[in-house]
């Protein structure tokens, strides 16, 4: 599953813009991951602070 390290996340929304499944939503400072997430890992690659990780 896709995990968000809330201590690292700077809530910039870049991940939301690249998500092909539209599974991410930025609610002010809170990144929400919906059930539509395919765990493709695209967002993890571009996160400027490395807050996202796909874990088995």
């Amino acid at each position: 599953m896709l995990t968000v390290n809330r201590y690292k996340c700077c809530y910039c929304g870049a991940c939301v813009g690249v998500c092909p499944a539209a599974a991410l939503e930025l609610v002010e400072t809170w990144l929400e991951v919906s059930a539509d997430c395919k765990e493709c890992g695209i967002c993890t690659k571009i996160c400027p602070v490395g807050a996202l990780e796909v874990r088995a």
């Binding site: 700077c10 809530y11 910039c12 929304g13 870049a14 991940c15 939301v16 813009g17 690249v18 998500c19 092909p20 539209a22 991410l24 939503e25 930025l26 609610v27 002010e28 695209i42 993890t44 690659k45 571009i46 996160c47 400027p48 602070v49 490395g50 996202l52 990780e53």
Partner: protein
């Protein structure tokens, strides 16, 4: 709760506020939603705008502007540099804004023109009637709010959802997004009069680093890298390395990160009852990453077209075609050109970049803008830039 209006604008950045202001001034009933509780904060931007175009669109309040710069200095990977001046042409950077104050100020102008501004109000989705959008469902300070409106403007930034809800795929491929990190830095080394750009694949792969002064030895020091060259946390890691090599004694007093679309014009920015504006419409310049002015210009066009289309009673995609036509003729054309430059420049090695900057060392480009400089570059390096010949002549 529910309310009714002519236009709902989702997002109160410069694009949204200009749309709301223009539409409200034309007599429309406008509601502008901002999901954050504070407009303009946190910032995700290096805050530079061209002075001339900016002042054509708004009369800036003094506190919107952090500083005014003279020109731009560009550093090659080998450290040699050239200067482009703002005095005559350079429309890229003239003012460095204080976005937190500017964004709120612009929203206030929209409010003064008659728009209703709702903060801490997040759009959750489009309301549909007979397959056509007829408003938005929102959450206002945690409470449901239904807004009925025949026209919805998506000015909801890089993380835009409005377009996707309306069936427009705005997903950015990794090669079409710059991933940025920036510190607000205090350092006696900062040049208060010039914006500085640092090129190099070690500094910022397929991007660049910058220093945009904000007055009194303070500057936005940041960098952007192409998404396809990124890995987890890379932007911030590279920025820390850049600070060490270029501003080792800099004091960091703020941190900013963000994604900047560099896709060039996307296929569609309208749907029945929907127009996209600014970063949501991917209207940023793919080469420089600048997006404020394009968003404001597109906002003005969207506001004007909204008034016309409502008066004509046709808010279908066909009825909103004037918006597509007008922004593409101006912003879109520049974007398409910049995109080709970007696609070429991201492939250059440090050796190529050194050659290009080096070739300008004996030229007087001090009065030129970016486009003029590219023309000279082509003249001096025809072999290296051969692929771009159709853009230069």
């Amino acid at each position: 709760m529910s309310m009714k209006c002519d236009v709902v604008v989702v997002g109160a950045g410069p694009g949204g506020s200009m749309t709301a202001k223009t539409a409200a001034a034309a007599g429309l009933k406008v509601v502008m939603l901002e999901k954050r509780q504070e407009i303009g904060d946190p910032v995700r931007c290096a805050e530079g705008v061209g002075k001339r175009v900016f002042c054509q669109m708004v009369k800036p309040e003094p506190d919107w502007i952090a500083t005014e710069v003279k020109g731009a200095r560009i550093y090659a990977p080998d450290g040699s540099s050239i200067v482009m001046s703002e005095d005559k042409g350079g429309s890229e950077v003239g003012y460095v804004l204080e976005r937190k104050v500017f964004d709120r100020g612009l929203a206030m102008e929209a409010a003064r023109a008659g728009a209703k501004v709702l903060v801490k109000t997040r759009a959750l989705g489009l309301r549909m009637k007979d397959g056509v959008p007829c408003g938005v469902s929102a959450l206002r300070i945690g409470e449901p709010l239904q807004i009925e409106a025949p026209l919805i403007i998506g000015a909801d930034g890089v993380e835009s959802k409005v377009g996707r809800w309306a069936g427009i795929d705005t997903t950015l491929p990794l090669k079409d997004i710059e991933i940025c990190a920036q510190f607000l830095v205090s350092d006696p080394k900062i040049d208060d009069q010039y914006t500085e750009f640092f090129l190099g694949n070690t500094i910022a792969p397929a991007g660049y680093a910058w220093s945009f002064p904000k007055g009194e030895k303070l500057a936005n020091v940041g960098l952007g890298i192409l998404g396809s060259r990124s890995k987890p946390g890379e932007a911030t890691r590279l920025l820390c390395a850049f600070m060490k090599s270029h501003f080792p004694n800099g004091k960091v007093v703020e941190m900013v990160v963000g994604g900047d679309p560099c896709s060039g014009p996307i296929e569609s920015t309208t749907a029945d009852g929907v127009m996209l504006v600014g970063d949501a419409a991917r209207q940023t310049d793919p080469l420089t990453g600048g997006g404020i002015l394009n968003a404001m210009q597109a906002g003005i066009i969207a506001g004007e077209v909204a008034a016309k289309a409502l008066a004509a009673g046709d808010l279908s995609k066909a009825g909103l075609k004037e918006y597509e036509d007008r922004w593409r003729a101006d912003i879109g054309r520049h974007q398409a050109r910049s995109y080709e430059f970007k696609e070429f420049f991201v492939k250059l090695s440090d050796k190529d970049l050194n050659q290009l900057i080096g070739s300008l060392s004996k030229e007087d480009i001090s009065k030129m803008d970016l486009r003029g400089m590219l023309r000279v570059l082509f003249k001096l390096n025809p072999k290296l830039l051969w692929e771009l010949r159709h853009l230069v002549v």
